[in-house]
């Protein structure tokens, strides 16, 4: 009786297990209310960004977010203009919603680029060690020696100000962080006995790296990525504020902050609303990132 349907057991189990693991992870995430709020905010922002990115020619849901209306300039928040208008009479509410995709896009793209280059670099340095490690990590130290914003400024002024160049500049600044975290995790993981066991079996380096090291260092990478998106968004806004990033009249939040700078005393809402939105996005990423870290921590298992 005990060997009923032995062939079915192996077929069904693996799929179930993966789902179970995910459920386990999600139930832990759910216990963390702050992380959940962060997640919902991000999901909402994500959908807003899709609309923003789809509507070209400065339109957002059919409304021209770049339409100037000089009779209505510098108006405070009201029923007609929820977040008020700026010095050209543009509706700040629509501009913020429309600009969301640029902010999130730069954040995601810069982090993704940094991870794409930084993770392999870190793994190679950590896995091979020796002079490879020394050379790579000293190069990273050089990058790290510059303050992030200064490095980005230098790169943007060389490449010229545009969304893509800002993204590249921020990604280069983030490279050493990724490389360092990944190298550290690789160093601890490669000393574990299961890595020795596959080495003793004669596995090639590629197999060891992709099947044994990378899956086991994914959680620090994911957590770091989430939290770094927030930093990237801040840097992008900072660069735009300095006039080096996305050029007006694109409704980028940092650029909008810069627009409102001259009217700070008469119409504070022009800087306040883009500013508070940056805070909310960054906070949402940080809360979610912290929640992810707790949920992915294997030591806290059950």
């Amino acid at each position: 009786m005990s060997n009923v349907q032995p062939s079915q057991v192996p077929v069904q189990k693996p799929a179930n297990r993966r789902v179970e693991n995910f459920k386990d992870f999600f139930s832990k995430l759910k216990k963390n209310k702050a992380a959940l709020v962060g997640l919902y905010v991000l999901i909402f922002f994500f959908f807003v960004s899709i609309f923003g990115a789809l509507d070209s020619n400065y339109h957002f849901l059919g409304v021209n977010s770049n339409a100037t209306n000089l009779t209505d300039k510098l108006l405070g928040p009201s029923a007609q203009y929820w977040f008020g208008t700026d010095h050209l009479g543009r509706d700040i509410f629509y501009r913020i919603l429309h600009g969301m995709y640029i902010t999130l896009g730069v954040g995601f793209a810069a982090t993704f680029m940094a991870a794409l280059v930084g993770v392999p670099i870190g793994i190679i340095a950590g896995y091979y060690g020796g002079w490879v490690d020394t050379v790579i990590m000293r190069l990273m130290d050089i990058l790290l020696a510059f303050p992030g914003i200064l490095l980005a400024l230098a790169i943007v002024s060389v490449l010229g100000g545009s969304t893509i160049n800002v993204t590249i500049a921020i990604a280069i600044g983030a490279l050493p962080q990724f490389a360092r975290i990944v190298r550290g995790s690789t160093l601890t993981t490669k000393k574990l006995e299961y890595v020795d066991a596959v080495r003793a079996l004669g596995a090639r380096d590629g197999k060891i790296i992709f099947q044994h090291i990378l899956p086991n260092i994914m959680s620090p990478i994911i957590v770091n990525t989430t939290i770094f998106i927030a930093t990237a968004i801040l840097s992008a806004a900072g660069l735009s504020f300095l006039g080096l990033g996305v050029q007006p009249p694109t409704p980028e939040w940092g650029a909008m902050l810069n627009d409102g700078r001259n009217y700070m005393y008469q119409a504070a809402h022009i800087t306040f609303f883009p500013g508070i939105m940056i805070v909310i996005v960054v906070l949402a990423f940080n809360l979610f990132g912290d929640g992810l870290r707790d949920a992915l921590d294997p030591k806290a298992k059950k």
Binding site: R17, E193, Y194, D196, A197, L201, A203, N216
Partner: protein, 367 residues
């Protein structure tokens, strides 16, 4: 038992560099294994014993080239292992496997048992793909696990079960030699016995050869045919298990054996307490490495290094020892320089004296 030499090790050295200074220069070396020579015959179990840090595990890892040895010769079935290219080595690894100490670290937490075993066979390409699932089930049953546990992750198993998975992984490529690196040390005593008996059974079934690295002399006596006693990177005594246990010749082996607990509380065995600590393997003592702690040490021991020799020619088996005075100590001609059995008690008395003196001083101040 066939008498073909399976593994021949000559003058194996493993020196780990110590990096220091501003440019990471090599400042010194830790001489973890410093010139050891022995051989293992097909089908036998050779145990390596010694205290922590004497180079037991390092020896095992060096043989498998998990750490590249500094010097020496490792011959497996007559082929020089250390001069092999990466590809040759990869093929070679099929014949030499290892079982690790920590069953919690030796399995990838993200792979099920099936994936782990499949991968092992895949790397060495030993079993045709179609038959692999069948083989995995067989392996599970061989090591005493149920077939329904096949798709579980390591964290769903107990320590003993995980160790069995580790054994199954080692067996999956049909090796000739298995290095058991403290393979049962991390397990409960009852589980230890089960795993040891499993290892013994597998040896009979598959004609395996074991290099059994352990610090547990009880375990070693149970499983080994021959024993190698190591101290500070050198072999001090090597011989058949019974010879070592019944007639230990090196003072270090004697001390080691006297430390085995006797399961009878009334029977107070005479325990040898060694003085001091193991010296640093960075600058090992000159001459005999044990002279700093040996009760029998003389000036000769401090300058001349003893070599492994068969001291008793009448003994028909192997029993070599690296000690200048092995025979003289046995016959009583050479006596200990101090009372080696009572060192601990002397220390206890001293401690007692110290406390009484303190008490007196304390009562004086009270008055």
């Amino acid at each position: 038992m066939p008498n073909n030499t399976l593994l021949n090790i000559e003058n194996l050295e493993q020196h780990f560099p110590i990096k220091g200074g501003f440019f990471g220069r090599t400042v010194n070396h830790v001489k973890a294994v410093d010139g050891i020579t022995f051989e293992i015959k097909e089908g036998e179990t050779v145990a390596v014993v010694g205290e922590s840090g004497c180079g037991k595990s390092t020896t095992g890892r060096a043989i498998l080239r998990l750490d590249e040895p500094t010097n020496g010769k490792v011959e497996f079935q007559g082929k020089d292992v250390l001069s092999m290219s990466k590809d040759e080595m990869r093929k070679m690894r099929k014949d030499m496997q290892i079982i690790f100490q920590d069953p919690y670290a030796s399995l990838n937490p993200r792979k099920t048992v099936r994936q782990t075993l499949w991968e092992a066979m895949d790397i060495q390409n030993v079993v045709p793909r179609k038959e692999r699932n069948q083989r995995i089930v067989e392996l599970m049953e061989t090591v005493g696990l149920q077939r329904h546990q096949i798709d579980r992750y390591p964290h769903e198993f107990s320590g003993g079960q995980r160790q069995r998975i580790g054994i199954a992984r080692a067996l999956s490529v049909n090796p000739k030699l298995i290095i058991c690196d403290e393979a049962v040390s991390a397990l409960d005593v009852s589980i230890q016995a089960q795993v040891l008996n499993l290892l013994k059974r597998l040896q009979k079934e598959f004609g395996l050869t074991y290099l059994f690295i352990s610090h547990d002399l009880g375990v070693v006596r149970h499983i080994a045919d021959r024993i190698i006693v190591m101290y500070l990177g050198k072999i001090v005594e090597i011989g058949d298990t019974e010879a070592i246990f019944n007639n230990p010749q090196h003072p270090y082996t004697k001390a080691l054996l006297s430390a085995i607990p006797v399961p009878d509380p009334r029977n107070k065995s005479q325990r040898i307490f060694l003085r001091g600590d193991v010296p640093s393997p960075i600058n090992p003592p000159t001459g005999c490495r044990f002279h700093t702690r040996c009760p029998f040490a003389t000036d000769l021991c401090r300058t001349d290094e003893p070599h492994l020799e068969q001291k008793n020619p009448e003994f028909d088996g192997q029993h070599e020892v690296a000690c200048h005075f092995a025979l003289d100590i046995q016959s009583g001609k050479h006596e200990a320089q101090y009372e080696m059995y009572n060192v601990r008690e002397v220390l206890d008395d001293e401690a007692e004296d110290a406390t009484t003196a303190e008490d007196e001083a304390f009562s004086k101040t009270e008055k």
